[in-house]
């Protein structure tokens, strides 16, 4: 992999630059560091950073842009007639890439010489078989125009790689030479280096924004593609979720949303009372020892990975519920058909959420001023009356915020529902039936062989975007409420 070597040589060059710059600065000062404008290390750093940072930046940008550029140039080579009826240009392009990668692989393993690979003829040789020999499996026979495109793809990619190496090397050496020539005892090296470092810090901080933009855009464009293939009315207002990989599927979010909200509701039904009472006891009644013992133990529940809860739902809680409610169970009723159900996932998720509710509420109850409690107790109220009639009403907005945060966690939770909730999308009120959620469907539509041209795959992006908007909205609302509440008592 030449990119590794490129990066490695850049680093070596920077290290060399550091030594050179430092030495030159000392030389111009006649070995007397007091004559320098900055500390000697800054001269070295200046040379190292000037040669490394621009080159590395160009390298990263180049690697991001080149695939798009090559794709757009190559795809013009494929005439519309070459795209089969049941496929799209994207699909043909992925064939092209696979053939190109296969040829590269074959050259690397020595099954083909580079010139042979360039002169292959789709009519004369069976390329599929030859690539099969080196372990590259192709789905179908290679058509001439695909091969031509693949050859063009290889050519452009290798030209791009070479050009990239040259540009990066020139930049690095140029930066080194330029900053080296500037190095002099009166050069304000520290100021320059600090400006450069500050710029790097800004870049790091804006990465958070880039991530958000990446999330929104990656889902937004695919969602638009999806609505080009599938009617948005059916997605938002339809009533059936029935993906069918032969096409003509009904993809409506409503049954999934119902399952999601139902499971989240059950989870909150478990976690809110337990979490809230635990928080009240810990903040109002418990002494220091109990508090420092019970609080961390409860918080362990929040640190356990969700896969553990998922397994617990699938293998312990589900079968236990089935022993009671399913056919031949303890109650002699047949309310459950399998181990997966709304209750299975909901209860387990509720356990996971207990510490979320309890520690957030704990903070909020502690923020209620002591004077309010003292006033109430002074008037003769018992402690529980104080909690119920004074502390809780005062803390209510904050507690609502905490519950909303827990709800947003519940809606976005994946592993527990994937393993515990089931796969049937339906509107039903029976909590012992299995139902499915938005997150489970995202997982099932995007795992395995995915074809990014079919609505059945693209729907996952629309679901993801809905989920993102939903949880983001809940979070913003919750944080707003909590902040407003804090201000009230500050």
């Amino acid at each position: 992999m030449p990119t590794y070597w490129l990066v490695l040589s850049l680093l070596v060059l920077a290290a060399v630059g550091y030594v050179l710059g430092r030495n030159r600065a000392l030389q111009t000062a006649g070995g007397d560091t007091r004559a320098l404008h900055s500390l000697p290390n800054y001269y070295g750093l200046n040379v190292a950073l000037t040669s490394l940072v621009p080159a590395l930046g160009v390298l990263i940008v180049w690697m991001l842009v080149q695939p798009v550029f090559v794709d757009s140039r190559v795809s013009t080579l494929i005439p519309d007639s070459a795209v089969p009826e049941d496929a799209t240009l994207d699909l043909v392009m992925s064939d092209v890439r696979r053939v190109a990668d296969g040829l590269d692989e074959a050259v690397e393993q020595g099954a083909l010489t580079p010139s042979e690979a360039r002169q292959l003829d789709a009519e004369a040789t069976d390329i599929r078989a030859r690539l099969g020999e080196v372990g590259v499996a192709l789905g179908s026979d290679v058509r001439p125009e695909v091969l031509r495109a693949a050859q063009r793809y290889r050519q452009l990619t290798s030209v791009g790689k070479t050009a990239m190496s040259i540009v990066v090397a020139v930049l690095a050496l140029g930066g080194l030479a330029w900053s080296y020539s500037q190095t002099h005892k009166d050069f304000r090296a520290r100021n320059v280096v600090e400006k450069g470092v500050l710029a790097l810090l800004v870049v790091a901080a804006s990465l958070a924004i880039l991530t958000t933009i990446g999330i929104v855009f990656s889902m937004f464009f695919e969602t638009i593609n999806f609505f080009g293939l599938h009617s948005w009315k059916d997605f938002f207002f339809g009533s059936t979720w029935a993906p069918n990989f032969r096409g003509d599927s009904e993809l409506s979010i409503l049954p999934l949303l119902w399952g999601t909200l139902y499971i989240s509701f059950v989870a909150l039904l478990v976690s809110v009372p337990i979490g809230l009472f635990a928080a009240i006891y810990l903040s109002e009644y418990a002494n220091g020892a109990t508090r420092s013992f019970a609080k961390p133990l409860l918080e362990i529940l929040a640190g356990i990975p969700t896969i553990v809860y998922g397994l617990f739902a699938l293998l312990t809680v589900g079968p236990m519920l089935a022993d009671v409610f399913a056919k031949g169970g303890l109650l002699g009723v047949e309310w459950m058909t399998g181990a997966t159900s709304v209750v299975t996932a909901g209860v387990v998720m509720g356990i996971m959420l207990i510490p979320f509710v309890s520690s957030l509420s704990d903070d909020i109850i502690n923020a209620v001023p002591q004077s309010m409690r003292d006033g109430s107790l002074g008037l003769g109220a018992t402690q529980s009356e104080t909690v119920r009639q004074v502390v809780l009403p005062a803390a209510l907005p904050g507690i609502v915020g905490a519950i909303l945060l827990a709800a947003s966690r519940a809606i976005g939770e994946t592993m527990i529902v994937v393993m515990g909730a089931g796969a049937i999308a339906k509107f039903s009120l029976n909590p012992l039936e299995s139902m499915t959620t938005i997150t489970t469907r995202i997982v099932s539509q995007l795992t395995g062989d995915t074809d990014f041209a079919s609505p059945e795959t693209l729907v996952a992006f629309a679901l993801g975007l809905t989920l993102f908007v939903l949880t983001l909205g809940l979070n913003v609302l919750a944080l707003y409420i909590v902040r407003k509440y804090r201000e009230q008592y500050e």
């Binding site: 600090e194 790091a204 991530t211 402690q383 944080l479």
Partner: protein, 450 residues
């Protein structure tokens, strides 16, 4: 004064002794006691759940650490393995695992005869209580030591997962009524072999160090390779999230001017921390795999996705520890002539380092247990059978990760895999507990209160 207050003291509405509580007070006190019990009950339920969870994991997972082995003396017949007798490795390799089956069958027959066990089973069915991996184990040994051909060597073979289940009490004579892969006669044989000391349950190091195995051989599956996958992912996360997170926090905490752009970045980071992890998986699939064509299932991609997910956690904790360094330190540095950058990098950052380290470890622990995004970038459904041989292949060749491996086992149909899944969780939790303990110790030891 006293007289007046005494006279005008309000009369209690309920006449009677202070020592005898009236019915309303009794009711209120009862309500108080009830309320307190609700609180204790809630905490008890929370703890109980924790206890149940831990009990469940330990009791169901501990079985994965012991495995049933059968000791046999196998004669490596030259006539079967190396017909020409020239010990040519290429020719020895031509003998497939099927060619080794008769050797094991003979060894088994001999062992049973030697012990004087009477069984109605044919030798082929007797040998069926061994794992399907036995032939491969024998073949690997012969290829590694071709000079041993012709000798008789003692081997420890894995028993079949049903036999193992029988030894652990998961499989009983009643439960195998409809099971074609094992019969009651075979279980009788197992009992006799056990009594003779040939078949034993011992500690199974292969579960910790070994690779995953196919659906047919739950007894041979291990966590080792997926642990390496997780390790590489964590390396990527550490190498990217720590520097980027620290740089971002330093900018936001020490240099950023208070303007709308900074506000947007701050709101953004706090919201990113609450985005469901699966959304990061979608991002990874769309950007790293579809757009940048990085390989599916590669730990590098998993690491990148988890980096984006952990960044907000690290930024938030780093900012908190930078904030806790008192301004007097900065002022002192500036006062003796340091630039702002020098004050931050030479004085504030070293003082905040323990807090940053603690936050990073906790972020890494979170990333280690995360599963959902890994499902979308293809780290599940993949049998990680070989350990990577170099750093580049560790990063780029397909692998699994610990939580993804556990999910994979939980999905399979054979209950023998469930035991492995619970066992895998024990390993995962050991890692998490260790990391969190280290974080707590670091905090206790180096935290300074100013």
């Amino acid at each position: 004064m006293t007289d007046i207050s005494h006279q005008s003291a309000p009369q209690s509405r309920h006449a009677g002794s202070l020592l005898q509580k009236d019915s309303r007070t009794v009711r209120r006190n009862r309500a108080e006691a009830r309320f307190k019990i609700y609180g204790i009950f809630a905490i008890a339920v929370g703890m109980l759940m924790l206890a149940v969870l831990v009990y469940n994991i330990v009791t169901r997972g501990v079985g994965a650490y012991s495995q049933t082995f059968i000791t046999l003396d196998v004669e490596l017949l030259e006539s079967k393995l190396d017909k020409n007798g020239n010990r040519n490795l290429e020719e020895i390799k031509k003998v497939t695992t099927f060619g080794y089956a008769p050797l094991i069958k003979n060894a088994f027959e001999k062992k049973v005869e030697e012990l004087g066990i009477k069984t109605p089973l044919k030798p082929k069915d007797q040998a069926a209580i061994l794992s399907k991996s036995a032939e491969a184990q024998l073949r690997d040994f012969v290829i590694a030591n071709p000079d041993k051909i012709g000798e008789t060597i003692e081997f420890r073979f894995l028993a079949n997962s049903r036999v193992d289940g029988y030894m652990k009490g998961r499989v009983t004579r009643e439960s195998i009524a409809n099971d074609k892969s094992i019969s009651v006669e075979q279980l009788d044989l197992v009992d006799q072999l056990h009594k003779a000391g040939v078949l034993n349950k011992t500690f199974n190091i292969d579960f910790i160090t070994g690779a995953d195995a196919s659906d047919q051989r739950p007894e041979a599956a291990g966590m080792g390779v997926s642990m390496i996958g997780s390790l590489f992912m964590m390396l990527v996360v550490l190498a990217l999230a720590l520097p980027i997170g620290v740089a971002a926090s330093i900018y936001l905490e020490e240099f950023a001017p208070r303007n709308w752009l900074t506000d947007i970045i701050e709101v953004n980071i706090s919201n990113l921390a609450a985005v469901p992890s699966i959304v990061f998986g979608i991002l990874g699939l769309a950007v790293f795999i579809n757009y940048m064509h990085l390989p599916m299932s590669a730990p590098l991609v998993g690491g990148l996705v988890l980096t984006l997910m952990t960044l907000p956690t690290i930024i938030i904790s780093t900012r908190a520890s930078l904030k806790s360094v008192p301004p007097s330190i900065r002022d002192a540095a500036l006062g003796v002539g340091a630039s702002k950058m020098q004050a931050v990098f030479h004085h504030v950052l070293p003082l905040a380092a323990p807090g940053i380290l603690t936050g990073t470890i906790i972020g890494l622990a979170q990333a280690l247990g995360e599963t959902a995004p890994l499902l979308l970038i293809g780290m599940v459904g993949f049998i990680a059978s070989n350990a990577p041989d170099s750093i580049a292949s560790g990063l780029l060749s397909p692998n699994s990760a610990m939580p993804a491996q556990i999910y994979e086992w939980a999905k399979r149909a054979d209950p023998a895999f469930y035991e492995r899944a619970w066992g895998g969780i024990i390993i995962l939790l050991v890692f998490l507990v260790t990391m969190n303990t280290v974080a707590v110790i670091l905090r206790r030891r180096f935290e300074r209160r100013w």
